[in-house]
Symmetry: C2
Subunit: 350 residues, 2 copies
């Protein structure tokens, strides 16, 4: 490349796609041309990138001619079909869906944790699940110092992770209940999982189901956190237990994370490691009621960590409260960071 890369965003009109465009405006990656791709329905509409109006094109295999980097966020089915087509035409694909994540040929990357894995890429790099990414940013600095034996996480996930329609559903249900409607008068159609049989209200509720159910009565979201953690940290011996819950928050995932480290870690030292870690921000001062909050995380690319304290009974046990904007570090920003890392490592052209 001479003056910059030709970048394409697949799913440009979606909740994550629009954030990818925003994050590409913030990146240091040199961009010479931007192509926005979506379904036929959105083709012809325009979106603004760096004050320039860009006409959305319909996604076809040939859309990728000349593209250097393609960011995908249009569902697993689209990635399955079109990511290989993009690679065939010389693009590097950064895929935000779960489709390729557990493929042993595909690096699964949180740049703060395992940017080195990019060197093995064969054209496709997977962006991990939102709730996994922020947990990795918080735990990697601890793992590097004292090792990680096990983790048990309970999530408090925002609705934006389920897309734009889910956001509208939360807003409408909230307004209806505030206006005096009864829960049984609502008509949920998206949450907990658009593709599942039953739907439940999310407004003023907590739903212990994200994505559909899979083996052993775990949801796919829970399986993602378990499997992706082991892959990203390159350690199958870490014991990972997860319970994933949707709560009535528009954006910003929170996580109650319990860990047991391999060696003892002092709380003060852990705070220092988090403070010094790339991408992580320590927000932890109980005397001043300082701790991470979902509402404060919106629009920010960092992962906020607080409520760090030792288990009172178990020697190497620690609690953490981890919050990040699920659409940014959990999706769009991590994808753009992967593109930056590929550029820095000279890995855009295979």
């Amino acid at each position: 490349m001479s003056t910059g890369y030709h970048v394409a965003v697949v799913g440009a009109t979606g909740a994550v796609g629009t954030k990818m465009i925003e994050m590409l405006e913030r990146t240091t990656l040199p961009i010479s041309k931007m192509t926005l791709l979506a379904s036929k329905r959105s083709a012809g509409k325009t979106l603004v990138f760096n004050n320039q109006s860009i006409v959305i094109e319909e996604l076809t295999a040939d859309s990728f001619e000349g593209v250097d980097i393609a960011l995908f966020s249009a569902g697993g089915g689209i990635s399955k079909v079109y990511a290989p087509e993009a690679v065939k035409r010389g693009a590097v694909v950064i895929d935000n869906t779960s489709h390729f994540r557990m493929d042993p040929e595909v690096p699964l990357v949180v740049p703060e944790v395992n940017a080195h894995a990019l060197a093995q890429h064969k054209g496709i790099i997977a962006n991990p699940n939102c709730s996994t990414i922020q947990m990795m940013v918080a735990l990697e600095p601890i793992r590097q110092k004292v090792g990680l034996k096990r983790l048990i996480v309970s999530t408090y996930q925002a609705v934006s992770g389920a897309g734009a329609k889910a956001l509208a559903e939360l807003a409408q249900e909230s307004a209806d209940l505030l206006a005096g409607k009864q829960p049984e008068e609502l008509s949920p159609a998206i949450l907990p999982a658009g593709s599942d049989k039953k739907h439940y209200p999310i407004a003023f509720n907590a739903l212990p189901q994200i994505d559909v159910f899979a083996e052993d009565d775990y949801t796919y979201e829970e399986w993602k956190m378990i499997n992706e953690t082991k892959k990203i940290m390159e350690d199958d011996t870490i014991q990972v237990a997860a319970t994933c819950v949707r709560i009535p928050v528009f954006s910003g995932h929170s996580e109650s994370v319990y860990i047991e480290t391999a060696e003892h870690a002092d709380v003060a030292a852990v705070k220092q490691w988090i403070n010094d870690a790339p991408g992580a921000v320590l927000e932890d001062d109980p005397s001043q009621q300082i701790y991470p909050q979902a509402l404060n995380s919106v629009g920010k690319t960092e992962t906020f960590v607080g409520r760090i304290r030792k288990d009172l009974d178990v020697a190497n046990g620690l609690h953490l409260w981890v919050v990040s904007d699920n659409l940014l570090k959990g999706a769009a920003w991590n994808s753009v960071q992967i593109a930056e890392a590929l550029h820095q490592q000279g890995l855009v052209h295979v």
Copy 2:
């Protein structure tokens, strides 16, 4: 007593007090007279009990003359002063505040778990913390069969636990944000803890602080869950770790509970034990998306348990999702159940 007990409710106009009156309408306890007590501000107003209009009286020490059973829910300061006055006048006090809970002279009772502890009472019985109670109902049937080595709980607590003003705050903030206000334009004054220095929005947010902070950077709410669990289960060796979080739900606490049992427990057996346990309702069928939900728990006295599944790595590890109406089983209903148990055991008059 001949035809029934003279019952008094202290704090009759509060969020819990009004529910106590409702629950006393559902009880089998024989009641001959009802006295409703509150602050001077509410004295003279009327409330209905069993279709009978009752004038609220101002709380004084002499209010307890002739009272057999007094249910307190007007704050720890009121209990501290007036519970001994009630006992002095021959009443048995069932106190819903935290004031007497850890007093070794005071039984701390969840009737499904330790009704036998009532026999030792010296006039005051403490009602445990809301989040502790529902967890005890869910875990006791498991503990009885296979023992309980440790538990790690993350809570998703409703706003009604912070009182009527907190409910109004959630409603107002929700409406304001839906109308387009920015979070920084809100004026939170109650949550996370009315008595604390700073206040934060709860609408579309998650606050990892319930009550004020105490030793070791744990909140009092977390300390309550830890200490009360050990006292109720009469076992100081159970390892308890807790993270307590407020979420934008009006009523109905949810809990992600991870346990390790002393002996191995089959998931199918655990489900059967929960199903057979008093006060617990099994709601657990992932294939039909059946699991407990806060919104469904409102107005019900049972504790709902689901998402029961084994840890994939740790032999005796189990996950549960536990939901109950925090104002009922978590407060008013448990207090009334204690009164019923005292009656059944012939312990109302000491």
